[in-house]
Symmetry: D2
Subunit: 340 residues, 4 copies
């Protein structure tokens, strides 16, 4: 085949990003159906403007359409596992937003079905497709930095989400650091053995009252001996601070923040640069298109895409271990979680 | 009005960029007709894929359509003046690619007609809309650098165009430096009084045989006392080097090249960064959308867009003065050209 | 007084640095006597070239000279405590190289005597006087970054010391990370509450055989709620990597490595920078002079210098806690060590 | 010989720098006599503190001392030629501060005598020994940038000298740009053929009243085809802006300003860096020691140092051509000046 026919489930914020990329930026792909649980006037108008022919509340129009080869799942998290399973049973390739689920046994059950039906599954950890972090990984893979020893990830949001969101988020280690667990595993090219996590409420006492922390650090030990250091905060007032560094036996690759522009203004008092891009839409917008094009290309070339279901599972396992580590104030082995 | 209906003349490389931006990135605009002198299969397919309803070889479909409010002229340079005049007479707003023409009296005649019919005209010096150079200008306008004293522009292409192109290009000062004349005038916020230009054949002797130079430098004196230094080359092997600096009485704003990514790789031998973006499509692609959106917004707000016809004329005048300066090896006042 | 008369004990590598600074760079200070346990021909020649009038093996010439107001102790670590005590009893101000001792009760006993005799004591954690780390601290003190939340310290040596050195070093957390414990405490402006440390042998198995690790990471929790992340390695092939970052409630200050020069070389393949300065003499040479001048100025102004005996003690306590944390694979509270 | 015995003439600001370097930083050199026309109490005290044994007003103590092998001339400009001639006749190697003289026939006469007596002469264009500009030149010499095409030099002072100084300075092209003529020739590795210079009074009208300009630009054409662009100003409020760039056939080497420190402070408003080093003492202090050590090493290895008398002469010739170019508003060939 030279083109992939896709259906998209979910036309919320992230679903719209995928749809726009499909229609405007990607090659070798055709969007046939968009399904969403609720279609209001705004969505209808947006769909019309985008030239979407088939907008439906009936997700079966995707699963039962034999011409649709791949399903992009961008619905709410609690529906991911079900839709993955249905898509697998319909023998369609799957791109699913992270996380697969927040319950480990449900993830495992879902992956079993995916395996049984032999369909391809990719999980949307888009940061792997950021041009900077890809370049770091390329340096790792090509041997430019040698064996990875120390991985450092800084991942700081510009401002906290609403408290209501915090309350149902599953905690910072599952909600926010999950991207960093994936990034660390991606760059280390190895699996996590042990996690030590710590945290504090330094930004907003309400976050503490909601049972979460707003500032977190973690140390990972990998099977290949590498160690990772991660730091998170819900509020970096200067913008969305996203950096990755891989130190290895023969070199070190460091990805700095993207700049808003390249201008320096020199004055008698100091030299000024504009602040870094504010949030993930500014920083990672391109990565979503790169990610989805890569998924499409994998299908066309019959290759198994990464990050896959295994990655989706591991990242949640690490999050669980981190949460346990923080609660019990001790390093926690991943095997403790897996064997739960 | 809350939306502008446009017709595009010319669907070559730059025309396609404008059309894609119109369809995919811009707001408050609708594309009604695309006209091109020659419509082949490839163009037809591209138009179909883009969802262009009306593709025609008959430019009258644009000029005679009373619902079309603005014309985007992206045809070959020799047709610009004619189409501007026709659009003016049809009372349509005009966005025209640079240059208006290479003949000064023809430019003046054209601008006269534009004035007579009272239509808005913007000329496509897109670099003014590069995020970095805009930021420099913002620093100038806001007073952060004070009164401009010295403007420095580096503008280097990665590789020379074909010799056949060089032969009909009008010479480096008209073909390549024209962007820099505009940038210097833009940043200085003043008009050029005198030009000294020099050049050499250092890249390819064939360029010399074609009667042109491949390396050029120029000094401009502005009416407000500022001076500008410009350097051009047809071949910077490391990529498309595009920098602007404005030094003023109380500060200095410097725009460096965009980076391909932000990664530094440290090894025992040296620290490496990837090369800068290769050419103008990589560097300036966003500026085309910014530029056209600005034009559309000016129409909606009934404001006069810049760069306008006056800028288009002045930039050609400076190019002529530079050519004369180079040929006669002496500084040439702009008034010498204007009074020709 | 407008000048301080000093005696120096120890003319090894670090002693020579202090002496050269005293003679060549510092103001308001006069070197009267240099004492060393062993004076060979090379040392004599060096002393002559430096214009040192009084070179002796008899340290009493310092302690018993009533005109000497301050003693600089740069002898071997095991003699520090004794010399501090003798200097204190002789009522002389003391600048002592780090560490005071590796035995906590001996440090406490020494500090008690210092307190009893009321003399000033400064301990030589020179990195506090690096122009970059001072600048970060200035940003912290002036409130530019707000309340410190996360402190990140990267401290990597270019190559491991000889195995013989490793064997008697006291372990990486006492020998190498001690600088980082001090830096973290300095920047956090708070005391360490708990330490989690981890390590691995990734560089040289012989270091493992000697009972030490060559790669180490640590997380600190401070009394003011801040957390610190530290990473160390004995071998960064690209040079001496020394960076500090303080993230706070209203900003973030980041000190990057010093550059060997500011040149970028752009080629068709990549952009190159020279490697960073190789080791501590290149990087920190100025900090030694700044440090000692600060000590002298404190004496002249009757101010209490920092880092002082308390800092010297705390840094060793943190090192002990880190070692215990690593050995027992659990976070260790500083109070566990203090109460040993 | 393994050590060079030197005498220094002139103990003003620049003489003191050389003397301090001789005594404190250089190897294989011994200072025997310092001569100055006027010895006051301050100078005597300084000399005493520096340990200078022989301070005299009688310059003959240098010329007539057979043990002195090299003379460092740091006296006032009008005495340079005389002292060079006397040193040459005394068969001593000569390091002379720039310029040799401001009169071309006097320079030529002086160089003739130097040649006649076969002594080595180095002229103190210290910027060639700045670590950054040396690195650029190394890139040129090693072929990393290929054949030089365009050289760009930015050289901006932080604030103008007193008007009284301006009046006797010989004009900006001789007083300030002379460093840049030398730098351009150094980097181009070729001789200047033609100069175009322009200038303006943009900083202080009093400078204009004194017959000089405070802002200057110049274009040089070299015999090897390269071109140089230079810009100068007497007042860059943000500090001493000193940059050099060599663009060549296969690459480009750019030396940026030195930083005061490497710290970036990120805040909600912008990212801040401290201003660049204020003036030449901060920026070039190391270059003076590097320069003098190089001179001493040349003597020890019997090599001819550069920049030499020829360089000293050429730089003044270019300055004269630039002045003429500015006055007559036309490019001036160097041959016009040489044949005056």
């Amino acid at each position: 085949m030279d083109k992939v026919m896709v259906g998209v489930i979910g036309a919320g914020r992230i679903g719209k990003i995928h749809i726009e990329n499909l229609l405007r930026k990607l090659s070798n792909v055709e969007l046939k159906v968009v399904a969403d649980v609720k279609i209001d006037k705004t969505l209808e108008e947006w769909a019309k403007e985008m030239g979407i022919a088939n907008l439906t509340t009936n997700v079966n129009e995707i699963f039962e359409d034999p011409t649709i080869e791949a399903v992009i799942i961008a619905s709410s998290t609690d529906s991911h596992a079900e839709f993955i399973q249905r898509a697998a049973k319909a023998k369609k390739a799957i791109f699913c937003e992270k996380p697969i689920d927040t319950d480990i046994s449900r993830i495992k059950e879902t992956l079993k079905i995916v395996k049984e039906y032999g369909v391809k599954l990719m999980v949307g950890f888009n940061r792997r497709f950021d041009r900077n972090f890809m370049r770091v990984h390329e340096a790792v893979l090509s041997g430019q930095v040698g064996q990875p020893h120390i991985i450092k990830i800084t991942s700081r949001d510009p401002s906290p989400p609403p408290i209501e969101y915090i309350k149902v988020s599953g905690g910072i280690f599952l909600d926010m650091t999950i991207h960093d667990w994936d990034m660390a595993r991606f760059q280390a090219d190895s699996e996590v053995q042990e996690v030590y996590a710590n945290g504090a409420v330094l930004i907003d006492p309400k976050i503490g009252e909601a049972g979460d922390v707003d500032t977190a650090v973690a140390v990972l030990k990998f099977e290949n001996g590498a160690m990772a250091l991660i730091d998170n905060t819900r509020q970096a007032v200067y913008g969305y601070d996203q950096r990755v560094e891989v130190f290895g036996s023969i070199g070190c690759a460091m990805a700095d923040n993207e700049a808003t522009n390249t201008v320096r203004i020199y004055t008698a008092e100091c030299t000024n640069l504009d602040t870094i891009p504010h949030f993930f839409l500014e920083r990672y917008i391109e990565s979503y298109a790169t990610e989805l094009q890569y998924f499409i290309n994998c299908l066309l070339n019959d290759e198994n895409p990464r990050p896959n279901g295994h990655d989706g599972l591991q990242n949640v396992l690490v999050a669980m271990a981190a949460q346990k580590s923080f609660e019990e104030n001790r390093p926690v082995k991943l095997s403790e979680i897996e064997n739960d």
